[in-house]
């Protein structure tokens, strides 16, 4: 049997706050954060979002970065979460470490602002900050030295797929540890994109609700530190939990719609359970993808019923807290799932009142306090890029 992969650190920032402590507190207090945007320059001010409170300048200040440094918002958010992940894990580059970053927006939030200026030779320093890998490179400087680094872009499952690649790199001995996750800032580009698809809610979203209209976009970043159990033990790391299983599949149906039988989501959850050697009744909580769109929530419900039958574990979507942080969602929600496991609680699915008629599934509506042993988190993306990860209480080998 291959060696266990353990989680030894984490970091997060989203509209509910910066840091794991603030995040846990907001979840437990059921604090709401979805509202009008303050920093994003859009005419769609009636569309609520989960925007991180800090401006770029405030983030730079918090990070100790000069205010004139060329850096876009996506890597700034990433740095906030990355710093915390490094400090909580106390990981150093004495251990061979990979950095796997998930993002899609990249530097678009500045490119859309300066696009016409670029052609006149102004703000051209942001041209090479546009692509997804550019941000990864900048963020990597926070750590001594990464041996291997790459960027995954599978839309809303980018960060979950980063977790998966990191684990596979450790399993095959390419590295001993990996910092994995994702980051995404709001941009006018994807706000308008989602709006053109008519899937944005004009009030705080209500995942799994009968009358749901759409999702709220959010922004943020999350990273977790994963490593080989023996390496973590040898360096005396604080082991928070295990990454016990995961799977990446494809719905292979449509770019933005889900197949009737939710093949991708069904296979992602089923294969993750197989990978973790767990039975369906061993999952204590599912942090659902639950975007709030009728397409996702109906089809995720169908998939949950296919996988778990009549005994669906308690589940909730935390996107009513953070909004849909797109490429970061897999990491933001991995950190939330790890906190749930660590502190024994199930976060509430805010805004829910009536179940979807066809499936009748009822999420956890008020925070529950209970011991959890195995937690599953789902991330489904455009193009049917569907992934599930399972985190479990640490059992020393």
């Amino acid at each position: 049997m291959t060696e266990k992969i353990v989680v030894t650190g984490y970091g997060i920032i989203s509209s509910i706050g910066a840091g794991v402590e603030k995040t846990r507190e907001a979840l437990l207090k059921e604090e709401k954060s979805i509202g009008r945007v303050a920093h994003l320059n859009t005419c769609h001010t009636d569309i609520p979002c989960g925007e991180v409170k800090e401006s770029d300048d405030e983030l730079k200040k918090a990070l100790g970065i000069a205010s004139d440094q060329i850096i876009t918002r996506t890597p700034l958010l990433a740095m906030m979460a990355m710093k915390e992940a490094i400090s909580t894990s106390r990981l150093t580059d004495q251990i061979s470490t990979a950095f796997i970053n998930g993002t899609t927006v990249g530097g678009m939030e500045k490119s859309e602002k300066y696009y016409y200026d670029f052609f006149e030779g102004k703000h051209t320093e942001y041209i090479s900050a546009h692509d997804c890998g550019a941000g990864t490179e900048l963020v990597s400087h926070l750590f001594g030295h990464f041996d291997l680094m790459t960027t995954i872009s599978t839309a809303c499952s980018s960060a979950a797929n980063s977790v998966i690649l990191g684990a596979d790199l450790i399993k095959t001995g390419r590295v001993d540890a990996a910092i994995v996750g994702g980051t995404e800032s709001l941009s006018k580009f994807h706000l308008n994109g989602f709006n053109s698809l008519m899937i944005l809610e004009h009030q705080p979203c209500r995942p799994f609700e009968k009358s749901n209209q759409g999702l709220n976009l959010g922004e943020g970043a999350g990273y977790i530190v994963i490593e080989r159990e023996s390496v973590a033990k040898a360096r005396g790391a604080n082991i928070i939990c295990e990454l016990s299983g995961y799977a990446n599949t494809c719905d292979a149906f449509h770019q933005t719609a889900t197949s009737e039988t939710s093949e991708g989501a069904y296979r992602a959850m089923t294969n993750a359970l197989l990978n973790a050697h767990l039975k369906t009744n061993e999952i204590d909580y599912i942090n659902a993808h639950g975007t709030g769109t009728s397409d996702n929530d109906l089809h995720e419900s169908i998939a949950l019923k296919r996988v778990f039958g009549e005994n669906i574990p308690p589940f909730s979507s935390t996107k009513a807290f953070t909004g849909h942080t797109t490429s970061a969602a897999g990491a933001v929600e991995s950190v939330i799932s790890i906190l749930a496991l660590q502190y024994g609680f199930i976060p509430a699915n805010l805004g829910f009142s009536e179940p979807i008629e066809a499936t009748g599934l009822i999420p956890v509506q008020k925070t529950l306090h209970r011991t959890l042993n195995h937690v599953m988190t789902n991330s489904f993306g455009f193009g049917g890029n569907d992934s599930s990860c399972i985190f479990s209480k640490y059992q020393p080998s």
Binding site: C132, M149, T151, S153, T154, K171, N192, G193, C250
Partner: protein, 349 residues
């Protein structure tokens, strides 16, 4: 377990979906060279094709040319590298949005995400396997290839499709021009053999490789491994090559593919490393034929695999302008701005 490159297909600025470049290459004469388009109708129905951007049509065509119909839904993974995704669609949506945020059509947005290319292949192939897209500058393709190798090493794969796709629009070309990516004139083979100034020229590419543990009668070559590095020391790279040679029982590397593109700084690093890692190997160049893009390294693998299959490295792709007969082992080296590096080892079957 051995991994084979069973089939390979390319669409680029050379004749598409064939190896005309090997014996009868066309010499690029522009600073921005666009795809030579294949007959898309062979691979995509006209009704669907009309709504698709160029990069997507090329991806579907090279992928389809690579994988026979009966194998498509059984692929264990479809892994794609693209530095910029479908920038044609991204630009269309961006320009419309900058005109006004009301009444935008979603079709360009839907095709703008990087993973559209790989997931559309999965949709066309009805393939529910692992599906991933890498967008990490000059090692986007290499990341996808490495991920595939990792999955083979974990015994999770029997077959996988790896794609490397990038297009270049007029507008993006201009933007990159502002930051010194391109030369102010066309790039010749002399530039690539001996660069004296900064800048290169732009190409477009869609390259697809079918990897398998159970090869057909005539696979191109064996894929030993792909390793990625970030700011590696020379020692790390040397050790990697030594370890790979040892693991695969190779006592001589016959040729090394280097990514010279006419940019002085870029090419100096390749020359230095080729000398360091494989001082006796024949040096193969390819970017004078294909141009530069974030995933052009996929063509580097394609060129090496083709040479192994044809048992010949033609003179027009070597640094010393002399052909090499019967190569058995080829190392493919890639670096992006001396930050990200990859090493791939191929051997003949």
């Amino acid at each position: 377990m051995s991994i084979y490159i069973d089939k390979a297909a390319q669409i680029s600025i050379q004749q598409p979906l064939c190896n005309e470049w090997f014996s009868n290459p066309s010499m690029p004469t522009d600073r921005l060279c666009k795809f030579v388009r294949p007959d898309f109708k062979q691979y995509i129905s006209a009704a669907i094709s009309r709504r698709m951007g160029t990069a997507l049509k090329c991806t579907l065509s090279s992928a389809s040319a690579c994988v026979s119909e009966e194998k498509r839904s059984n692929l264990d993974g479809i892994l794609t590298g693209t530095g910029l995704g479908s920038i044609e669609n991204t630009e269309n949506f961006l320009l419309a949005m900058l005109e006004g945020e009301e009444g935008l059509s979603p079709s360009n947005f839907m095709q703008s995400t990087h993973n559209t290319l790989g997931s559309q292949v999965a949709i066309a192939f009805k393939c529910h396997g692992y599906n991933i897209t890498y967008a990490h500058r000059g090692t986007s393709f290499d990341s996808a290839l490495m991920n595939a190798v990792v999955k083979f090493q974990l015994n999770e794969y029997k077959t996988a499709l790896v794609n490397g796709v990038d297009e270049m629009t007029e507008k993006y070309f201009q933007l990159f021009d502002h930051i010194g990516f391109w030369k102010d004139r066309n790039v010749t083979i002399e530039d690539v053999r001996n660069a004296t100034s900064p800048g290169t020229f732009a190409g477009e590419n869609s390259v697809s490789l079918l990897l398998t543990t159970q090869p057909s009668e005539q696979p191109l070559c064996e894929l030993c491994d792909t390793q990625l590095f970030y700011r590696p020391s020379d020692e790390q790279l040397k050790t990697c090559v030594e370890k790979l040679c040892h693991a695969f029982n190779i006592n001589r590397i016959d040729a090394i593919v280097i990514g010279n593109n006419g940019d002085k700084e870029n090419d100096a690093e390749y020359r230095r490393l080729a000398q360091l890692l494989t001082p006796d190997a024949k040096q193969i160049i390819y970017k004078h034929l294909f141009g530069e893009s974030f995933t052009m390294s996929g063509l580097g693998i394609y060129v090496a695999a083709t040479c192994l299959k044809e048992k010949r490295v033609p003179a027009h792709i070597t640094m010393d302008n002399e052909a090499l007969e019967n190569p058995q082992t080829i190392l493919v080296l890639n670096h992006f701005k001396q930050l990200d590096y990859s090493i791939t080892l191929l051997k003949s079957c």
